[in-house]
C-alpha cells in the first residue's frame, strides 16, 4: 500500500469505529460496538508499527491532505508530518488506546452507556492522532481542542452525578484558559512568519530572534522579545493541557470519569500533548532562554508540590492522579532544560507505567466493588495476584528503580537539570530530587495500604468510605457505582480482559527504558526533529558525554542520591503505614496547619471558585443589572421615550386650530427658506 494512504488510515480507522459505535449506539448490540472500535484501533496500531519501521528506514513525510481554508496570503491546510517524534507518539497512543479498549470490555460491562463509551474513546484516539500527526499549528489546535472535547464528554460520562458534571465543565474551562494563550501564540506566529506550517515557521524563526514587540506603544519597558512572548503564549496552552500549576486544578477532578479514560486520557496520552507540543516546537523554544526558564520553574513547582498532595490522598485514583501531575512536572522540567528527547522519553515510559497503574487501580476498584478508598483495602495481594504483581511493577517503574523504564527516563531528567545553567535550573534540580523521595513515599504508601497489611474491607463501615476527597464529592455519595464490599465479602481477581492489558503494559514498563534510552536520548533517533542550540543550552551535550550504555547507567545509579532517596521513601512508607501507623496520624495532628493546606490543595480551588467564578458572575450581574437594565434601558431608552412624550405634550400647544396661526407660521417658514436660498445663490 502507498504510505500516504497508510498515514490516512491511522486516524481514520478509529474514527470509523467511533462513528459506528456512536451514531448507532442505540441500535447495535454491545459486541458490535467493541469489535468495531477495537478493530479500528488495532488497525491504527498495526499501521503505526509499519509506518514506524518505514520511518526508521529513513522515509519521513511532510505533506498536505487538503486545503482547509485560504485567506489573503495565508493558507491553512490539513496535513501530516511523519517523523520519529510523530511515530513515537503514534505507537504510544495506539498501543495504550488498544489496551484500554480491551480493558473497557471488562470495566464497563455493567454500564448502560457501554456503546457510547467505546465511541468516545475511539473518537479520542482519532483526535489525539490528528494532533500528533499534524504538520501545522491549525490542525494541532484542532486536535488540541478535540481531545479537550472528548475529555469533557468522558469526565462527565456519568452525567447524573453532580461531581462529574462539575468536573467536566471545570476541565473544559481551565483548558480554555490555556487555549486562550495558545491561540495568541499561534496568532503571533502567523503574524510574523506568515505561515502556520511547521517547516516554514521553523525555517523563518531564527531570523526573528532579535525581533521585539512592544506591548504598550512607546513604552520602553514594555518591549519584549517576540520569541519569548510567542513561546510563553504557546506554553500557556501546554500548561492547560498538561496540567501545570496553576492550571492543574482540573486534572484531580477529572478522576470523576471512568477509570479506563483516566488511564488513557488523563495519564498516558492527552495530558502529555503539551509536552509533545513543546518538544515539537523545540526550534522555537530554543530561541528564548527566558521562556525555557519560565518552563523549568513551572515544571519544578508542579513536580514537587503536586507530589506532596499525593501523600494525603485516600482515593486510590486521586493518588495516581497527583502522581501524574508530578510526573508531568518532571517532563516539563526536562523541556525547560532543553532535554526535549528526555522529556519525550519520560513521556513514553510514563505512558506505559502510569496507564498500568491506573488500570491496576481500576482493577482494584472492580475487585472492591467500586469502593475507591484505600483505607478500606489492605491485603489484596492474596485475592488479586495479577493486579498485585503488575501494580508492584508499575510502582517500581514509577519511583525509578534501577533498570526499570522509569529509572532511565527520570534519572536522565535529573542529570540534565543538574547540567543545565539556565536561570531556575538550581531550584528545579532541588525540586526533582526532593520529588524522587516524595514519589517513592506516596506510591508505596498506596501500594502497602492496598495490597499488604490488615484486611480492612467488608466492614460495612458506610460512613467511612463515603468520606471522599475534594470539595464537591460530598454533594453526592449515593451513586450505584459507589457501593463497596458487603460485610464478609472478599475482593476477587478481575476477568482476563482486564488482566491481559495489565500484563501487556507491565512488559514495556519494565524493559522499554533499557531498550530505548541509547538510541532515543543519546542516539540519532531524533536527529533533524528536535533542535537544540548546544551553544546556549549545553546540558544535553554534556549528558551524552557521561552516558556509557544502559547497563553502566543502572549500575552507577545504585550509589547515587536519587536511588538512596527513592529507597528511603519506600522504607519510610513501609515503616509508617505497615509498622507504626500511629506515627503518620501523630504527624497529622502535630502539623495540622500543613495538613489542612494539603487537604485543601493549597486553596487553589477555593481561590478560583471565589475570585474567578464568583468574580465573573458578579461582574456579569453588575454589567447586566447596572449597565444594560439601569443605564441603557432605564435611563436612555425609556428616558428618551419619556422625553418624546414630553416634547409631544409641549408641541401639542402649537396645534391651536386657528387658521391664521398656521398661515402666519407658513409665511415665516417660507421667508426663512427663501433667504437661505438667495444667500446660497
Amino acid at each position: 500500500m502507498e504510505m500516504q494512504k497508510l498515514y490516512l488510515l491511522v486516524p481514520m480507522a478509529p474514527l470509523i469505529g467511533a462513528m459506528i459505535a456512536g451514531l448507532f449506539c442505540r441500535i447495535i448490540p454491545r459486541w458490535v460496538a467493541h469489535t468495531a472500535t477495537i478493530a479500528g484501533v488495532a488497525i491504527a496500531f498495526i499501521a503505526s508499527v509499519i509506518i514506524f519501521k518505514d520511518v526508521l528506514a529513513g522515509n519521513t513525510y511532510n505533506g498536505a491532505v487538503y486545503t482547509w481554508l485560504t485567506s489573503g496570503d495565508y493558507r491553512f491546510e490539513v496535513g501530516f508530518l511523519i517523523d520519529t517524534l510523530t511515530t513515537t507518539m503514534m505507537l504510544v497512543v495506539t498501543f495504550v488506546s488498544l489496551m484500554v479498549h480491551i480493558y473497557t470490555i471488562g470495566y464497563m460491562q455493567e454500564d448502560p452507556g457501554y456503546n457510547r463509551f467505546f465511541s468516545y474513546i475511539s473518537l479520542f484516539t482519532f483526535s489525539m492522532l490528528m494532533l500528533v500527526m499534524s504538520n501545522n499549528f491549525m490542525q494541532l489546535f484542532f486536535g488540541w481542542e478535540a481531545v479537550g472535547l472528548v475529555s469533557y464528554l468522558l469526565i462527565g460520562f456519568w452525567y447524573t452525578r453532580p461531581t462529574a458534571i462539575f468536573a467536566n465543565m471545570k476541565a473544559f474551562l481551565v483548558n480554555r484558559v490555556g487555549d486562550f494563550g495558545f491561540i495568541l501564540g499561534i496568532g503571533l506566529i502567523l503574524a510574523y512568519t506568515g505561515s502556520l506550517d511547521y517547516a516554514t515557521v521553523f525555517e523563518k524563526a531564527p531570523g526573528l530572534v532579535d525581533t521585539t514587540i512592544n506591548l504598550f506603544a512607546g513604552r520602553e519597558w514594555a518591549t519584549v522579545s517576540l520569541m519569548t512572548a510567542t513561546c510563553i503564549c504557546l506554553f500557556i496552552g501546554a500548561m492547560g493541557k498538561s496540567a501545570q500549576v496553576p492550571l492543574h486544578v482540573w486534572l484531580p477532578d477529572s478522576m470523576e470519569g471512568p477509570t479506563p479514560i483516566s488511564a488513557l486520557i488523563h495519564a498516558a496520552t492527552m495530558v502529555t500533548a503539551g509536552i509533545f507540543m513543546v518538544a515539537r516546537m523545540s526550534p522555537l523554544f530554543e530561541l528564548s532562554t527566558t521562556a525555557l526558564s519560565f518552563i523549568i520553574v513551572i515544571g519544578a513547582i508542579t513536580a514537587l508540590f503536586m507530589g506532596f498532595l499525593g501523600i494525603i490522598q485516600n482515593d486510590i485514583k486521586r493518588v495516581v492522579a497527583y502522581s501524574t501531575l508530578s510526573q508531568l512536572g518532571y517532563m516539563t522540567v526536562a523541556l525547560g532544560a532543553s532535554a526535549y528527547s528526555v522529556a519525550i522519553f519520560h513521556l513514553m515510559t510514563h505512558a506505559f507505567f502510569k496507564a498500568l497503574l491506573f488500570l491496576g487501580a481500576g482493577s482494584v476498584i472492580i475487585g472492591m466493588h467500586h469502593d475507591q478508598d484505600i483505607r478500606n483495602m489492605g491485603g489484596l495481594r492474596k485475592y488479586m495476584p495479577i493486579t498485585w504483581i503488575t501494580s508492584l511493577i508499575g510502582s517500581l517503574a514509577l519511583i525509578g528503580t534501577p533498570f526499570m523504564s522509569g529509572f532511565y527516563s527520570k534519572d536522565s531528567i535529573i542529570e540534565a537539570v543538574a547540567l543545565s545553567h539556565i536561570p531556575g535550573a538550581g531550584f528545579a534540580y532541588f525540586a526533582v530530587l526532593a520529588g524522587v523521595f516524595v514519589t517513592a513515599f506516596y506510591s508505596f504508601r498506596m501500594y502497602f495500604l492496598v495490597f499488604h497489611g490488615e484486611e480492612r474491607f467488608g466492614k460495612a463501615d458506610d460512613a467511612h468510605h463515603h468520606e471522599h476527597q475534594g470539595d464537591h464529592d460530598d454533594e453526592e455519595t449515593s451513586h450505584d457505582h459507589h457501593h463497596g464490599l458487603a460485610p464478609g465479602q472478599k475482593p476477587h481477581e478481575t476477568p482476563w480482559v482486564v488482566t491481559l492489558p495489565l500484563v501487556l503494559l507491565a512488559i514495556p514498563s519494565v524493559v522499554i527504558g533499557f531498550i530505548a534510552i541509547g538510541p532515543m536520548v543519546f542516539g540519532d533517533y531524533f536527529k533533524g526533529v528536535i533542535f537544540i542550540d548546544h551553544h546556549a543550552h549545553p546540558a544535553m551535550a554534556h549528558l551524552s558525554e557521561h552516558f556509557h550504555g544502559a547497563v553502566a547507567m543502572g549500575l552507577h545509579s545504585l550509589t547515587t542520591l536519587p536511588f538512596i532517596l527513592a529507597l528511603s521513601g519506600v522504607v519510610l512508607s513501609w515503616f509508617f503505614y505497615m509498622k507504626r501507623p500511629d506515627i503518620p496520624a501523630a504527624i497529622q495532628r502535630r502539623f495540622s496547619a500543613i495538613h489542612a493546606l494539603l487537604e485543601n490543595k493549597y486553596y487553589f480551588d477555593r481561590f478560583n471558585e471565589v475570585v474567578f467564578a464568583g468574580g465573573a458572575r458578579l461582574l456579569g450581574k453588575v454589567l447586566w443589572r447596572g449597565g444594560d437594565v439601569a443605564i441603557i434601558d432605564g435611563l436612555i431608552v425609556n428616558g428618551s421615550a419619556k422625553v418624546v412624550g414630553w416634547i409631544a405634550s409641549v408641541t401639542r400647544l402649537f396645534q391651536t386650530g386657528y387658521v391664521y396661526h398656521y398661515a402666519f407660521t407658513m409665511i415665516i417658514g417660507l421667508f426663512v427658506l427663501m433667504t437661505l436660498w438667495i444667500n446660497r445663490a
Binding site: S71, L149, Y159, P162, L173, L184, L188, G620, D628
Partner: protein
C-alpha cells in the same frame, strides 16, 4: 452566466408564495398553507443554488446583475447584483426560510397561513436587501422587512410583546431616519444618482464622511446590534416565537453588518479608518462585556441572544481591521452564526414547546429523557463556544489571528471569548441537560420527533461541513474582499 433573472426570482418567488399562502385564508386550510409554504421555501432555495454553483470566484465585481429603470424622474433603478460578500447571505436566507417553515409545522396552530406568509415575504424582502444596488431600492427593502418581523413578534409573540415591539420600533426608527438623510445627501452630492456602485467612486471630504459614517453607524449598529444599542434584541428574542428568533438571529442581524460592507467601508473609506478605533472598541465591549452579561442570564433565550451580540462583535471587529483575514473571518462568522444561533434558538424552542418555560432553573437532567436531543444540542453548544471542527470556530479563529497582527491587546480581548463563551455555553448546558431529572416537567419530556431531528440534523451537517471544510465558503469571497480592501485603502479626500 445564467440567462434567468435569478436574483429577481430569489426575491419574488418567496413573496409570491407568501401571497398565495395568505390566500388560503383561515386555519381550516392550515395543512394546505403549510404545504404551500414549504414548496415555496424550497423553490426559493433551489433558485439560489445556481448563484453559488455558477458564481465566478475570480470576479470581484457584481454578478447576476439586473438593471431596469424604476422611477426615471429621480434616476431610481431596479438594480440587482451579488458579489462574493452578499451571495452567501442570499443562499443562507433561503435555507433558513425552509428551516423556519419546518420549525413552525406543528407548533403554530393559529393563523397558520398568515404566520408562514409573513416569513416567506420577509425572506424575499431580505433577499432584496442583500441584492439591491440602488440606494432607494435598498431602503425600501430595508424598511419593508421590518413589517413582517414586527408582526411576527406582535401577533405570535409572548406576553410582554408590546414593550419589545415598542423598544424595537424606537431603536430602528431613529436609525432609519438618519440613514435616509445620508442617502439623500449622497444623491445630491453625486449629481442625482442612487447607484450604490457610483457612490463607491464618489469623492467626499473628510468632514462629510464622518457625519455620513455616524449616520450609517447608528442605522447599522442598531441592527447588528452593537453595544450600547443592543438592548432591544434580548427582549425581541424573548417575546418572538421560535421561528421569529431563528430569522432574527440568523438573517436580520446580518443586515446591519452587511450595511457596513456595502455602504460605510467603500463609500466612506477615510472616515472608516478615522473611526475604526471607535468601532473596534465597541466590538470588544460587545465581546467581553456582553459575554459576562450572557453568563448570568436565567432565561435561555436571553442567554443565546446575548451570546449573539457577543458573536456579532467579532463581525464588526473583523471588518474594521481592514485585512483579508479580518473581513473574511467576519463574513464566515456571519454565515456560521446563521446556522448555530438558528439551531440554538430552535433547540430552546424544542424544549419550550414541551415545558413552556425558558428558565434555566426549570430544567435539569433533560438528557435522561431526550438523549438524541441532548447530543445535537451539545454539538450546537460547542459550536456556540467556538469549538474547532464546527463552523463557530472558523470565523473566530480568523478574526483572532487577524487581530494579533492588528494589535496584540485587541486580539487578547477578543480571544478572551474562548473562555467566556465556553463558560456561558457550557454552564447553561450543564444546568439544563445534565444531572438527575429535576422535576415532573422534565420527567414527562419525550425525545425529538422525526421533523425536529431532521431540522437539527441538517443544521448539524451544515455546522460540521463549514467547520471541517470552510474553503468553499471563503473562496467565493476572496476576489470581492480583496477588491473592497484595495478600494478602502485609497483615500477619497481630494
Amino acid at each position: 452566466m445564467s440567462t434567468y433573472p435569478l436574483l429577481s426570482l430569489a426575491i419574488w418567488i418567496p413573496i409570491f408564495a407568501g401571497l398565495v399562502v395568505l390566500s388560503t385564508g383561515g386555519d381550516r386550510n392550515a395543512p394546505l398553507a403549510r404545504m404551500l409554504s414549504l414548496i415555496g421555501a424550497v423553490a426559493a432555495f433551489l433558485v439560489t443554488i445556481p448563484l453559488w454553483t455558477g458564481f465566478d470566484i475570480a470576479n470581484g465585481g457584481m454578478q447576476f446583475v439586473e438593471l431596469k429603470s424604476w422611477i426615471p424622474r429621480f434616476n431610481i433603478n431596479y438594480h440587482l447584483g451579488v458579489d462574493g460578500i452578499s451571495m452567501l447571505f442570499v443562499v443562507l436566507n433561503a435555507f433558513i426560510t425552509i428551516i423556519v417553515v419546518a420549525a413552525g409545522w406543528e407548533v403554530i396552530q393559529t393563523k397558520v397561513a398568515q404566520y408562514n406568509a409573513a416569513f416567506l415575504i420577509m425572506s424575499g424582502l431580505m433577499n432584496g436587501i442583500f441584492t439591491s444596488l440602488d440606494g432607494v431600492l435598498f431602503y425600501v427593502f430595508f424598511e419593508a422587512s421590518l413589517i413582517p418581523l414586527y408582526l411576527i413578534i406582535g401577533v405570535w409573540g409572548g406576553p410582554n410583546r408590546v414593550y419589545a415591539a415598542f423598544k424595537f420600533f424606537l431603536y430602528t426608527l431613529f436609525g432609519s431616519l438618519l440613514f435616509l438623510i445620508a442617502l439623500m445627501y449622497l444623491f445630491i452630492q453625486s449629481g442625482g444618482s442612487f447607484s450604490i456602485l457610483e457612490w463607491h467612486k464618489l469623492p467626499i471630504g473628510l468632514g462629510a464622511q464622518i457625519w455620513l459614517f455616524l449616520a450609517f453607524l447608528i442605522a447599522f449598529a442598531v441592527k447588528v446590534p452593537m453595544w450600547p444599542v443592543h438592548t432591544w434584541l434580548p427582549d425581541a428574542h424573548v417575546e418572538a416565537p421560535t421561528g421569529g428568533s431563528i430569522v432574527l438571529a440568523a438573517i436580520a442581524l446580518k443586515l446591519g453588518a452587511y450595511g457596513f460592507l456595502r455602504f460605510s467601508l467603500p463609500i466612506l473609506p477615510d472616515a472608516s479608518h478615522e473611526l475604526s478605533g471607535l468601532i473596534v472598541a465597541l466590538s470588544l465591549i460587545a465581546v467581553v462585556y456582553i459575554g459576562f452579561v450572557a453568563l448570568v442570564q436565567e432565561d435561555m433565550k436571553k442567554l443565546v441572544a446575548y451570546s449573539s451580540i457577543a458573536h456579532m462583535g467579532f463581525v464588526t471587529l473583523g471588518f474594521f481591521m481592514f485585512s483579508p483575514m479580518g473581513v473574511e473571518g467576519a463574513l464566515v462568522q456571519m454565515v456560521s452564526h446563521g446556522f448555530v444561533s438558528g439551531a440554538m434558538f430552535f433547540c430552546i424552542g424544542v424544549m419550550y414547546d414541551r415545558v413552556h418555560s425558558r428558565q434555566i432553573a426549570d430544567y435539569g437532567g433533560v438528557v435522561n429523557k431526550m438523549p438524541k436531543f441532548a447530543a445535537l444540542f451539545m454539538l450546537f453548544t460547542m459550536a456556540n463556544a467556538g469549538l474547532p471542527a464546527t463552523s463557530g470556530f472558523v470565523g473566530e479563529f480568523m478574526v483572532i489571528l487577524g487581530a494579533v497582527k492588528f494589535n496584540f491587546w485587541v486580539a487578547f480581548a477578543a480571544a478572551s471569548s474562548m473562555v467566556i463563551g465556553a463558560a456561558y455555553s457550557l454552564w447553561m448546558y450543564k444546568r439544563v441537560i445534565f444531572g438527575d431529572v429535576a422535576n415532573h416537567h422534565v420527567e414527562e419530556l419525550s425525545d425529538i420527533n422525526m421533523r425536529e431531528f431532521a431540522i437539527l440534523g441538517i443544521l448539524a451537517i451544515a455546522t460540521l461541513w463549514m467547520g471541517l471544510y470552510p474553503q468553499p465558503f471563503t473562496e467565493v469571497m476572496h476576489a470581492s474582499v480583496n477588491d473592497l480592501l484595495r478600494h478602502v485603502a485609497i483615500s477619497k479626500i481630494q
